[in-house]
Structures are given as C-alpha cells and as structure tokens.
C-alpha cells in the first residue's frame, strides 16, 4: 500500500499526467464547441448525425474516437513510464534499499497505473456526457436498434458503454508495463503500445482476419456497440473482457518475472 500511495503521489505531480487529465477534462467540451459552431455533422461516425438532436450522442461519438486512438494513448502515457522512469533516473537501487520487496514495488506500481487509467476514463466519461447534454439537451437518443432511448436508459447506457472500455484499457496498461520493464525505455513504454495498437487497428480495417479479429486487444474497445440499443447483446462484452484479461495476464506475468530476476546492482 505504501508503494501504491507513493506512486500515486509521484504520478499526480508529473506534468504529462496532468496534461492527460486536462485533455480528458477539456477535450470533450472543446469538441462540443467546435461541433456547435459548424453546420455540418460527422455523419460517417456512429452517432455523429445525432449530436445536435440528442445530448447522449456526443459522448458516444467521442467514445468511438477515443476507443480507437485516445484511450490507448492516455493509458500508455501513464503505464509506459512507471518502471522505465526508475531506469532513466537510475533510482532502482535507492528504491529497493527501502524495506520493500521487488514484488511489492511491482504490485504497487501496476496498481497505481491501473487506478490512474481508471480515473482518466472516469473524467472523460463525465466530461463528454456533460458536454453532450450542454450541446443538445436530454432528448431521446436513436439507438442502434432503431428505436429511441429515453433519458434514464440513455444515461445508463452511455455510462455502461464507457465502462466497457475498462478491460481493454487495462490490457493496454499491462502491455505498456511489460514494454517499460523489458526495454527500460520510457519511449518504448509509451510509444510501443500505441504502435502495436495502430497495427491492430490496421489489421482490423483490412477485414481479412474475419472472426479472428476478436483476439486483438483493440477489438474490445468496440464492444459498446452491442449496448446502445433497446435489446442489448453482450457477446462482444464478455468476449472482450476475456481477451483483455488474457492480454493483461500474458503481459504482467513475464513483466513481473523480468523485474524480479533482473540484476539491478
């Protein structure tokens, strides 16, 4: 717990973490302002055509974009540096001379990265929902099953949709942790998951993988498509959670082993 508390304090003090929170908080309202000033609508993106009809469309439009590009970036900025920064500053030795084992340091740092990622996701959710309601009010949202969704149901489904991003977000955090420990480089820890995410997106866009696309870590980011409807389907959600868990375990186990067996003298 001490490592977790200390790591959270350290993360909070970092300028790029503050910048990530600023982006989460201010990005959606700024996007809403730009959309409000335009006459055209982003009709090629899900819910883009409804952003001026219903306030619940904007958070889902932002979600579609964020799930593809922004969330992997935000979580990599947090998790890709928590270990490599000790290498960069040469502080491993002083950290490990305190009465904490390597396993405790690993657990504390991973938990700090995960909690910060969850906080970023929560801030973006709230910010985009408030921005959407300010832009277009609380009129019913045309769901993906064709029928309108009223105020209470639409609010619940928007929050649930954003919450469904949590498993792949934590999967990306685990990937960033592995790269951060393996390479000892913040650049690889932050940029590596982004690059891998981009490759996965391109593979999915090619459309040649068929159902095999479901094993990619980027696919669960779209699981919310099954929720925003009168008759939700949960297959992609459960499958995405299992795939994300597999990625997280597949990254954290070797990452922990690497750290525990590394020569840091």
């Amino acid at each position: 717990m001490k490592v977790l508390r200390w790591e959270l304090v350290r993360l909070r003090a970092q300028p790029r973490i503050r910048a990530a929170f600023a982006l989460s908080l201010l990005g959606p309202p700024l996007f809403a302002l730009v959309l409000g000033a335009q006459t055209g609508l982003p009709k090629d993106t899900l819910f883009g055509r409804y952003v001026k009809e219903s306030g619940f469309a904007l958070p889902l439009l932002v979600l579609g974009f964020a799930g593809t590009w922004v969330l992997p970036l935000l979580t990599s900025v947090v998790a890709g540096d928590v270990f490599a920064t000790e290498d960069g500053h040469g502080t491993w030795q002083s950290l490990l001379t305190r009465s904490r084992t390597r396993a405790e340091v690993f657990a504390g740092k991973v938990m700090a990265a995960a909690l910060t990622s969850v906080a970023l996701l929560s801030v973006t959710t709230l910010s985009s929902l408030v921005a959407g309601l300010a832009l277009a009010g609380d009129r019913p949202l045309p769901g993906l099953s064709g029928t309108p969704l009223g105020l209470g149901r639409a609010t619940a489904l928007v929050v649930a949709s954003w919450a469904s991003e949590l498993p792949p977000l934590l999967g990306f955090a685990a990937l960033a942790v592995l790269l951060s420990i393996w390479t000892r480089s913040s650049l690889a820890g932050v940029g590596g998951p982004l690059l891998l995410g981009l490759v996965m997106q391109l593979l999915a866009l090619l459309g040649t993988l068929g159902s095999a696309v479901n094993v990619l870590l980027t696919t669960p980011f779209a699981a919310w498509h099954g929720l925003v409807r009168a008759d939700p389907y949960f297959g992609p959600l459960w499958q995405g959670a299992l795939v994300s868990l597999a990625w997280a375990v597949g990254c954290l186990v070797p990452a922990r082993r690497l750290l525990l067996t590394r020569d840091i003298t």
Binding site: K43, D44, L46, F47, R49, E53, P142, G143, L144, S145, G146, T147, P148, A204, L205, L206, G207, L209, G210, S211, A212, V213, N214, V215, T219, A222, H225, G226, A230, Y233, G235, P236, W238, Q239
Partner: protein, 138 residues
C-alpha cells in the same frame, strides 16, 4: 514452444470465417429499418405504430464479386406491410469490419426532410440514412 507457435495460426485460421454474411446483415437491417420507419411515421403525425406490426423482411447481398465480408457494395431490399398496403424499398449499405453498417435511402423514396401535414413542422427524415451494428463475437 514450437507447438504453441503452430497452434496460434491454426486457431486464427479456424475462426477466420467472417460474421458479416447476408443471413446476419438482413435481420439487423430489418430491426433498425422498422424502428426508424416507426419514428418517421410519428414525425409525419401518425399515431404510434409498433415496428413488429410491419412484418418486414429484407434480402441483403453484395453487388460485387464477394458474397460476404465488409464492403461498400451491399444492398438491402426490404418489404413491409403498412396500412394494409405492401411496399418495398432498396437501401445501399456500407458494412464496416467492426460489424457496424450505414444505410442510405435513395433520394426518390427518402427525401432529406419530412413534414407533418398538420403542424407543418419539418424534421430530418430518420430513413434518409441510419446506422446499425450486429454481433460479431464468436
């Protein structure tokens, strides 16, 4: 380790069949079409109608060489019954790799706006273009 490396491509290949088939796109399209049709009729001032009462059926397919998978050459022909009259319409679809699709109505049958004949209130036509998604999980 070698066995594991061999198993991964085999596993991927076994699950490679695309879920974006006419048999799965059709019902997804019908569901969204009937919902948007009911909304269109409400905007035209009619009493609420249940989407299920339209008894809609759709036949979807690709106009190009491929028969399934993502692409911009999908069309759906939908037949339905309303006010005791059978009708049919054709929509063009863009089906994306993530299982979501966008339908466009032809301008002749689906104008950009609909006007309530009593109140003269103009609204965006819910059937001019609309989106849907289908379950692509295993």
């Amino acid at each position: 380790m070698k066995r594991l490396l061999l198993a991964v491509p085999l596993l991927l290949a076994s699950g490679c069949a695309t879920p974006l088939t006419p048999q799965r796109v059709g019902p997804s399209f019908v569901q969204v079409f009937t919902g948007r049709y009911a909304e269109q009729q409400r905007l035209l001032g009619r009493d609420p109608i249940a989407p299920g009462s339209l008894h809609a059926l759709a036949s979807c397919g690709r106009t190009g060489r491929d028969v399934d998978g993502p692409g911009e050459d999908w069309t759906c022909s939908v037949q339905y019954v309303d006010l005791a009259t059978a009708s049919a319409q054709v929509f063009e679809l863009q089906v994306k790799p993530d299982g979501c699709w966008k339908a466009d109505g032809t301008p002749a049958t689906q104008p950009p706006q609909v006007v309530d004949p009593v109140t003269l209130i103009a609204s965006t036509n819910p059937l001019v273009e609309f989106d849907g998604c289908l379950d692509t999980s295993w």
